[in-house]
């Protein structure tokens, strides 16, 4: 079933890709092939492969139970939030929060997680900012 869904999504994607190809505005001076031909070939390959999934699916993989899936979902959410708040809160605060959350969810005890989070943030800050001089996000307090 999973492969059939993949095939459906892939086919939709291929059609969408081909349709967006037709929307490309060609400029008045262009080469013989033009900017549309190669994307159309790609869309054809994508579509053909998806059809194979639809008609000859592999046995479904073992999907994790719903709570595990939610776990992954929340981690993804935290990563997105991290990307969002990084420029505002600065590197140390956001990294402490994100690393602490991830290690807690991976099975570190809550209090320890705070320590691991702080240690990760400060450790990376020292190695990459202080020693190697990389530019990291600066927050309201300058770190």
């Amino acid at each position: 079933m999973s492969d059939r869904i993949l095939g459906g999504v892939g086919l939709t994607l291929a059609i969408f890709f081909a349709w967006s190809t037709t929307l490309i505005q060609e400029s008045f001076m262009t080469d013989v092939v033009g900017p549309k031909a190669f994307p159309l070939i790609i869309a054809a390959v994508l579509g053909a492969a998806s059809l194979v999934f639809l008609f000859r699916p592999d046995p479904a993989p073992l999907w994790p139970p719903l709570n595990r899936l939610a776990e992954v979902g929340f981690a993804v959410l935290v990563c997105f939030l991290y990307a969002k708040v990084l420029p505002e809160l600065g590197f140390i605060i956001s990294t402490t929060l994100a690393a602490g959350y991830l290690t807690w969810r991976l099975g570190t005890r809550p209090l320890q997680s705070v320590v691991v989070g702080v240690a990760t943030a400060v450790g990376i800050y020292i190695v990459f900012r202080v020693i190697l001089g990389l530019s990291l996000a600066t927050g309201p307090f300058g770190f």
């Binding site: 033009g34 900017p35 190669f38 592999d58 991830l102």
Partner: protein, 511 residues
């Protein structure tokens, strides 16, 4: 002789304090990453590319650092195979078969030292193979026109799934996905925008570094989260007795013929498209088993069973660099990542690299020799140090990996849009892995998509719109034939091969 003179120049480039210390750092980091289960050569190098890039290293130093990581990871993979019976990366899978039984007999130190020597032999001679073979291949490659290159790119995609691929449709799907992603942005030849949907951030296209780090590194974190309660803590409990660190001379001597044969096999597996290091170590192990397993000791801690796969996979790692450097077409996941390094440094690999930037190529090759000696020195007396690293639990390690990935990407562009794209790729990577869609063709597609299209358009433009020009010379017809056979053969043989590999593995473990 020309080659030797170039190699000597290469040593002159590589032997500076900065390059030597970078090589040492790369070897250390690489061995650690290889040893840690879940981090292998490809995601190890992937995490470090953006860092090397934003540190502002020049082309040669950056390459030296990252290939040292690559070689180091190939060495490091054996450590957890031997001590924990968990392969540190896929190529080290076969090393478990005889390495772990040796460790159980209290000979872990000997197994580690012997496999260190075997790794050295494999990569040392494979690097010589690279020195001798790559310039020859360059001579052939100079005959290539755009049509041949287009065929060659197709060949790379067609064979990337490898002979052991189980589902070629999934490999094709992955390649198309990667190529499609490469199309996003401004078309280099006509200047029109494609698939940007008015989003300004997309005009430059998707940075392949963002895609690589997301797909390889971040998705690993999600995989760990998914399996947390089952076995991710990997608590090994008992401490393995290392035993004496130096193998007896007679043991090494008994392994010399094995190492000789498997070096050649592994190197060939690395050079040929569609094989790579995992298959190299598998072929090496099974052929040695057939040749010298007279008393049925293989699988029960035979030193030759440790030497064979380690020599094989390290020789394959060296062999895989040949097509990557000489043709610009990688044949394996990790060399695809190394190609990303070159491209982000604005170096186009291929025949012109050897004539235009000989200092880069030969400096890199010299650094491989130096790195190899460093790895031998690091891996035998200091192997105890690396075994300590295995004690860091994944629950602490994985968040660190995630955060370093973010730091690297943020360091390049400083934009939180790129970070979000990276997270999206992490999710995509996780889903694709669940569905057994290979990730390497996706990466290769985003890397090569634009070059592939450019060659297609150039070839067809030269012949005034005649598409048959793509198969107009004997050279290109030959490449097309190999590509077609390489794509079709696994459909019939792939299942058989994969099953044989797994059977062998299962059977040995249950013995």
């Amino acid at each position: 002789m020309d080659t030797l003179a170039s190699l000597a120049d290469g040593f002159a480039v590589a032997l500076t304090w900065q390059n030597l210390s970078l090589a040492l750092m790369g070897c250390l980091l690489g061995t650690i990453m290889g040893a840690l289960p879940g981090l292998g050569p490809s995601n190890g190098v992937a995490i470090l590319i953006p860092l090397a890039f934003s540190l502002g290293l020049g082309a040669t130093p950056a390459l030296i650092l990252l290939t040292a990581v690559y070689y180091g990871a190939m060495y490091g993979g054996r450590i957890s195979s031997i001590l924990l019976n968990i392969p540190g990366d896929e190529p080290a899978m076969m090393t478990c078969l005889d390495g772990y039984p040796m460790a159980q007999q209290g000979r872990a130190g000997e197994a580690l030292a012997l496999s260190g020597i075997a790794s050295f032999v494999g990569s040392f001679f494979a690097t010589w193979g690279l020195v001798l073979l790559a310039p020859q291949l360059v001579k052939v490659a100079l005959l290539f026109g755009p049509a041949e290159y287009f065929a060659l790119f197709t060949l790379a995609f067609a064979t990337l799934g490898g002979i052991a691929s189980t589902n070629q449709a999934k490999a094709a799907f992955a390649a198309a996905l990667g190529l499609g992603l490469a199309m996003i942005g401004v078309d280099a030849q006509t200047g029109v925008t494609r698939f940007t949907f008015g989003e300004v951030h997309l005009y430059d296209g998707i940075d392949f570094l963002v895609a690589i780090v997301g797909l390889f590194a971040l998705s690993e974190v999600f995989v760990f989260l998914e399996h947390r309660s089952t076995d991710a803590d990997g608590d090994t409990g008992k401490k393995m007795e290392i035993g004496k660190l130096y193998p007896s001379w007679s043991m090494i001597k008994s392994c010399i013929p094995t190492m000789g044969r498997t070096t050649i096999l592994g190197f060939l597996a690395g050079v040929l498209p569609g094989a790579g290091a995992s298959l190299g170590s598998f072929i090496a192990y099974s052929s040695e088993k057939r040749i010298c397993d007279r008393d049925g000791t293989f699988g029960k801690g035979d030193p030759r069973g440790v030497a064979a796969p380690e020599t094989g996979n390290n020789a394959a790692a060296g062999g895989a660099l040949v097509p990557m450097l000489a043709l610009g077409v990688p044949g394996s996941g990790t060399t695809a990542v190394l190609l990303a390094v070159l491209l982000s440094l604005n170096i186009t690999p291929g025949p012109l690299l050897f004539t235009q930037n000989p200092d880069v190529v030969w400096g890199l090759i010299a650094a491989l020799f130096i790195g190899n000696f460093m790895l031998l020195a690091l891996n035998i007396p200091m192997v105890g140090l690396f075994t300590r690293v295995l004690l860091v639990p994944p629950r602490i390690l994985m968040p660190v990996v995630a955060m370093i990935s973010f730091v690297g990407i943020y360091g390049i562009s400083g934009s939180s849009f790129d970070l979000m794209v990276m997270v999206a790729f992490g999710v995509l990577g996780w889903v694709l892995r669940k569905l057994e869609v290979p990730l390497v063709p996706v990466i290769l597609g985003t890397l090569l998509g634009n070059a592939m299209e450019a060659n297609l358009r150039r070839a067809v433009s030269i012949s005034n719109g005649d598409w048959f020009t793509l198969a107009d010379s004997w050279l290109s017809i030959g490449i097309w034939l190999v590509a077609i056979v390489g794509f079709i053969l696994p459909i019939f043989l792939g299942r058989v091969f994969r099953k044989k590999m797994d059977d062998e593995y299962e059977k040995e473990l249950s013995d």
